[in-house]
């Protein structure tokens, strides 16, 4: 059975490219673009891994990550964070909220596939 990745990202062209490479790699892909309702999407989809952008409309990815870690059901859910801000303080903030992996844009397709495989290894 295919593993599910929830992609929380609001840039449609990035989403489209990622959907293509992830599906081609065998993933089941769900997409969500709004920060305010991202946690609802996590509850609904129950993904194996989340790819989470930092700058989202209506709610920051950092706050979404914090709430994912605060909820009992999603406390251990692997979260790969994407950001256009590669500053050390952003990385430190993501780590303080319990991010599983932190990647800066632009990234290579191979790199993101490899990280997702790592994060969902049993």
């Amino acid at each position: 059975m295919a593993k599910t990745v929830l992609l929380i990202e609001d840039e449609p062209n990035i989403t489209e490219a990622m959907r293509f490479i992830l599906q081609r790699d065998g993933w089941s892909v769900s997409i969500h673009a709004d920060g305010a309702t991202a946690l609802d999407a996590v509850d609904r989809v129950r993904p194996d891994v989340v790819v989470l952008d930092v700058m989202l409309p209506n709610r920051s990815g950092f706050l979404i990550l914090r709430d994912i870690r605060a909820a009992r059901q999603t406390r251990d859910l692997p979260v790969l964070m994407l950001t256009a801000k590669g500053q050390e303080k952003d990385r430190a903030l993501a780590e303080s909220y319990g991010v599983s992996h932190f990647m800066t844009k632009p990234f290579s397709n191979q790199e993101i596939l490899a990280r997702l495989q790592e994060l969902t290894q049993p």
């Binding site: 990035i14 490219a17 632009p106 990234f107």
Partner: protein, 466 residues
């Protein structure tokens, strides 16, 4: 490097030691007549001769040259780094970015005396470095906090991410479905257009920023430099009683003052030219010179006789014809926050290029006592004495329910001019204020060698020397 004060100092030191001119000239190997010319400031000296004279007089060369080019020495002191203050315990933490002063650079006067050309090169480079540092600070602050830049950079990185991922798919998936291929081509087209738009927007933004911030001179400096070249007297703006073409003359001069500068320089130049013309229309040079002749250097009395605000009289005294009695004066204006708005520089009384000036200047004292004229004898760290007149007055018309917009004005007159017959008026009395004790001031805390000054800003000396 020498200017008029070096000769005065040599003469003063020689007389203090009871050495005759012929004796001193013999000791240093020059003729008595040449020494006489030097002592009367009719010959500039430097290098070996200055060192020989200092040696023969038993003084440091710097004591002869300080005050001669105080601005140069002040810049060199700043270049050397923070002064050592052995009385202070080293501060913990918060070390300043500037390195501690190197050993052997305590006396910039020696450098000026031995290698005046190199001293000027070092000073020029230091000023250039300070200007570049300011620019870098401003730019990095912008990069970190500017919302326009942040948004543009985010747009670029998002588009680049999409392009990279999409291009990689197209390149590495030869069997891609034609529909997907068409969608990705469309996405690439869209992202490339977005990148082009954002890049153009950034270029325009950086261009504007460069005009704003990377011109190494503040807008006022270009204007001040023009005025310095004109010796602060602008005949074309002096009122001829007709007021004909007044605005055209102001505009023409403002454009010359701003030269190749941008809108900001032109705005400053217009403001300065308009105020000059307005001041000139209120008090013509002849009337001012006659009042100066009657009262001597008593600006308040002159203001009273001419029925004009004291600040206007101070400004007008600083732009009399260059051949007149006050050919060497300084003028500085600041706003209510203490930011320097205008400087007419005076040799021997350095004014900071950037940042705040010495908080002891009467200019700042005046701000706390609006309308009260202040007069104070000042002494620079180099020993130069000047008489300062300052007043703070509201700028613009009075308004109800609004705080007054204050502007302080300070006129600085060198001691020799304040003592000159021209400054004493018809009754031959020196201006008031010359008889009291001199207040030790500096240019700015950054360069001031007075470590125990109560007005020194916290955190400078201690932190820098830690």
């Amino acid at each position: 490097m020498s200017t008029s004060f070096t000769g005065d100092r040599i003469r003063e030191r020689r007389m203090q030691r009871g050495i005759k001119q012929t004796e001193l000239s013999r000791r240093v190997g020059i003729s008595a007549s040449y020494l006489n010319l030097i002592e009367h400031n009719r010959r500039n000296i430097g290098g070996k001769l200055l060192l020989s004279l200092a040696d023969a007089l038993g003084v440091a060369a710097s004591s002869l040259s300080e005050g001669a080019d105080e601005e140069l020495l002040d810049t060199l002191r700043d270049a050397a780094g923070p002064a050592l203050d052995t009385d202070r315990a080293p501060a913990s933490g918060g070390a300043a970015a500037r390195p501690e002063r190197e050993a052997g650079v305590e006396d910039p006067g020696s450098l000026v005396a031995r290698f005046p050309g190199w001293a000027r090169v070092v000073a020029a480079q230091h000023r250039r470095i300070a200007a570049l540092e300011r620019t870098v600070e401003g730019l990095s602050d912008r990069l970190a906090h500017d919302p326009v830049l942040a948004e543009n950079l985010h747009d670029i990185l998002s588009a680049v991410t999409s392009v990279r991922s999409t291009a990689s798919i197209l390149n590495q998936t030869p069997d891609i479905d034609p529909n997907w291929r068409a969608r990705f081509h469309a996405n690439l087209h869209e992202d490339s257009a977005r990148l082009a738009r954002t890049a153009q927007s950034l270029v325009s933004y950086f261009d504007a920023m460069a005009r704003e911030e990377t011109g190494f001179a503040a807008p006022t400096e270009r204007v001040e430099s023009y005025l310095a070249a004109a010796r602060h007297h602008l005949p074309e703006l002096e009122s001829d009683g007709t007021e004909e073409d007044g605005e055209a003359r102001i505009e023409g001069l403002a454009r010359r003052m701003a030269r190749d500068g941008g809108a900001e320089e032109l705005a400053v130049a217009r403001r300065v030219a308009r105020r000059y013309a307005s001041d000139a229309a209120a008090v013509a040079p002849d009337r001012l010179l006659q009042a100066l002749d009657r009262h001597g250097l008593e600006p308040a009395a002159i203001a009273g006789e001419l029925g004009q605000p004291l600040s206007l009289i101070l400004r007008r005294l600083a732009c009399l014809p260059p051949e007149g009695p006050l050919q060497r004066v300084g003028l500085v204006l600041c706003d209510g926050a203490g930011a320097l708005l205008f400087r007419r520089r005076l040799e021997g009384f350095p004014m900071p290029q950037f940042g705040a000036a010495c908080p002891l200047w009467p200019l700042y004292q005046a701000l706390s006592r609006p309308h009260l004229p202040l007069r104070q004898l000042l002494e620079t760290p180099g020993g130069q004495r000047v008489l300062a007149f300052a007043v703070a007055e509201p700028r613009g018309p009075a308004q109800f329910d609004a705080p007054p917009v204050l502007e302080a004005t300070m006129l600085v007159v060198p001691m020799d001019l304040a003592h000159a017959p021209d400054a004493m008026g018809q009754d031959g009395v020196p201006p008031m204020g010359l008889e009291g004790a001199a207040l030790g001031v500096g240019s700015s805390c950054r360069t001031c060698p007075r470590p125990r000054c109560p007005a020194r800003r916290e955190g400078f000396a201690g932190a820098a020397e830690a």
